[in-house]
């Protein structure tokens, strides 16, 4: 098991390296910069700024300095928000993004698996059609369209839930963002779950269990669910990365102070230090989450470990 984890980690190093390199050079080769304001700065100040951020050195040297800093965990300064380093801004936003993303992740799994099992057990009966219809909404409507509709219904018309803001983390403020973020993933998970559950229910070992006289409840909970979960587990890695990027839009719509908003504002302001730092942070996070999911998969399916 340890060897498996180490091997996976080793393959991640070149991925990270290439990703950082590509992002760095793409951003630096772009025309324009963070100091091209409405009012041009005096050249001496520009020179000082450039010297401060190492922008006056040759590109390759800048790259090596940056790479060295990243290796020691220093993501560098933000070019626009001068009082905060990139790492500090990420640290401020991270808890919000984690709460929303994490809760949405578990909501998607629970709702998706439940809906999938329901669909498989009542195949082509009304519960199946009902879940299929709800799934279809999640698959077709992009989250930036679902969000205003839900805000309009539950926030404005019914007045049950606030339309945005953090509200000190009270559950009322979390319901809508989590619903919007989780919907499409719950939909995909339930599709996977329904398909694999139908397949498992037709398998020989389930017939044996039935022949043994086990009750249906026991067959499903003890025998059918675990093997049927495998495709769902393999979807969780991509799902985690989609959730992180999906939170960009959700944070923007609901006015939540997570990393996504920092990232978007930085990209709009061409704050290269912040954009690069956030992208690198996101990538490390996603790669790490993928690794976790793969390890979980290896635990559930011994065939993977030995490969």
């Amino acid at each position: 098991m340890l060897a498996y984890v180490l091997r996976r980690l080793a393959t991640m190093i070149p991925v990270m390296f290439i990703a950082i390199t590509v992002c760095f050079f793409i951003l630096r080769l772009a025309p324009g910069g963070p100091f091209d304001g409405e009012r041009p700065l005096p050249p001496t100040i520009l020179q000082n700024l450039a010297a401060h951020y190492h922008l006056d050195k040759p590109l390759i040297e800048q790259y090596l300095i940056y790479l060295g800093n990243v290796l020691t965990g220093d993501l560098g300064p933000s070019f626009i928000q001068e009082d905060f380093s990139v790492a500090e801004q990420i640290a401020i936003g991270l808890p919000y993004t984690f709460v929303i993303g994490g809760l949405a992740f578990f909501t998607a799994i629970i709702v998706g698996v439940a809906a999938g099992v329901l669909g498989a057990l009542y195949q082509n009966k009304w519960p199946d059609y009902l879940t299929a219809a709800i799934i279809l909404i999640g698959l077709i409507l992009p989250n930036f369209l679902i969000a205003p509709i839900l805000q309009l219904i539950f926030g404005v018309e019914l007045g049950w839930l606030p339309v945005g803001g953090w509200g000190g983390g009270s559950w009322k403020y979390l319901v809508l963002p989590i619903a919007v973020l989780a919907w499409v993933h719950a939909a995909r998970i339930s599709r996977l779950m329904r398909g694999s559950m139908i397949e498992v229910l037709n398998a020989n070992f389930i017939r044996t269990a039935k022949a043994k006289g086990l009750g249906e409840r026991l067959i499903i909970s003890r025998h059918a669910i675990k093997p049927a979960l495998m495709p769902v587990v393999s979807y969780l890695g991509p799902a985690a990365s989609y959730l992180l990027t999906g939170s960009l839009v959700v944070e923007q719509i609901f006015g939540l102070p997570g990393i996504g908003r920092f990232f978007i504002n930085a990209a709009l302001a061409r704050d290269y230090g912040m954009v690069l730092g956030t992208v690198i942070f996101y990538m490390v996070l996603i790669i790490f989450l993928n690794l976790l999911v793969d390890i979980a998969y290896a635990f559930l399916d011994p065939k993977v470990r030995t490969r």
Partner: protein, 302 residues
């Protein structure tokens, strides 16, 4: 020579008259697609939306950027000729929605075209050449898969700035990964077939074989996946426009319109409703057409 081809034409004519008419793969697929009610309905809907978007602006008397000062924030009405109402600046929403649909479709077409070209060529070369080359090429695809796609697009956005069409060519250049994987898999299966072996034996170059013999035989999966790529890119474009990175004023796209409409949905719901309706019709029909194509080309794989 002339004699020979005339004789051959006569022979083929005879054969065509005598033998029952053979069904090509494409004809078979078309028949199956036409039996799929959801797909046929979607084709009609998609056709309608496209015709409206292309021809509609000629038939309405307002254009998408000129304000009508006499009808600011007008509700949809037949009385003043603004069938979809107007926005805060008095611009006709029907014209804006149709124009936005045009931009969204155009952007999706450009990006899909780019992604198909790169994906097919890349996948076919990797699959056909095989060995070390294949491994290196696919490792690159794996690495790019690990990068969060939207972040990369936003990075590109920062660079390409406001040139929308260049940007979507760039999105297409990232979107080709899945296409390359599918094409590679198909190519590996194809390259063992007799007709490829015959081409190789007759001395065709590797590149010639890929272009003449491999790629034409990939039409089915490529068409299916391209059909599924179009809605994905429409969503990406809307997503970017929604965040403020995409199409800029006075030009508009469905995403920009939805973003503007969502801000004022309580007081002027028609600003959100009509663009949303067009976006959903596009996505819905493209999705069902994509699914229908998949079932039609590969009836086993359901």
């Amino acid at each position: 020579m002339i004699l020979y081809s005339a004789r051959r034409a006569a022979l083929m004519d005879d054969a065509a008259r005598a033998a029952p008419k053979g069904r090509s793969l494409a004809a078979d697929a078309r028949r199956r697609l036409m039996q799929n009610k959801a797909a046929v309905f979607s084709l009609f809907l998609l056709g309608l939306v496209i015709i409206l978007a292309l021809a509609g602006p000629w038939f309405i008397s307002h254009d998408y950027e000129t304000p009508d000062w006499g009808a600011l924030r007008s509700m949809p009405s037949f009385g003043n000729g603004h069938y979809f109402g107007t926005d805060q600046n008095g611009r006709d929403m029907l014209a804006r929605t149709l124009y936005g649909t045009r931009v969204s479709l155009l952007v999706a077409l450009i990006a899909t075209l780019v992604s198909v070209c790169i994906g097919v060529l890349y996948g076919a070369v990797a699959g056909y050449v095989g060995g070390r080359v294949d491994q290196a090429m696919m490792r690159l695809v794996d690495i790019m898969y690990a990068l969060p796609y939207i972040l990369f697009v936003i990075l590109l956005m920062v660079i390409f700035g406001r040139n929308v069409f260049l940007l979507f060519a760039a999105i297409g250049a990232i979107e080709w990964l899945t296409m390359a994987r599918i094409v590679r898999g198909q190519t590996i299966a194809l390259k063992e077939r007799e007709f490829v072996e015959a081409a190789r034996a007759s001395g065709q170059t590797t590149f010639g074989i890929i272009l003449r013999h491999i790629i034409p035989n990939l039409t089915g999966p490529v068409v299916i996946y391209a059909a599924l790529t179009v809605p994905e890119i429409i969503v990406t474009e809307s997503f970017l426009s929604y965040l403020g990175f995409g199409v800029q004023e006075p030009l508009t796209s469905l995403g920009t319109l939805i973003s503007e409409g969502a801000d004022v949905m309580e007081v002027m719901p028609w600003l959100l409703g009509f663009p949303a309706l067009f976006l959903v019709s596009l996505l819905l029909s493209l999705m069902f057409i994509g699914d229908g194509l998949r079932d039609a080309f590969d009836p086993k794989d359901r």
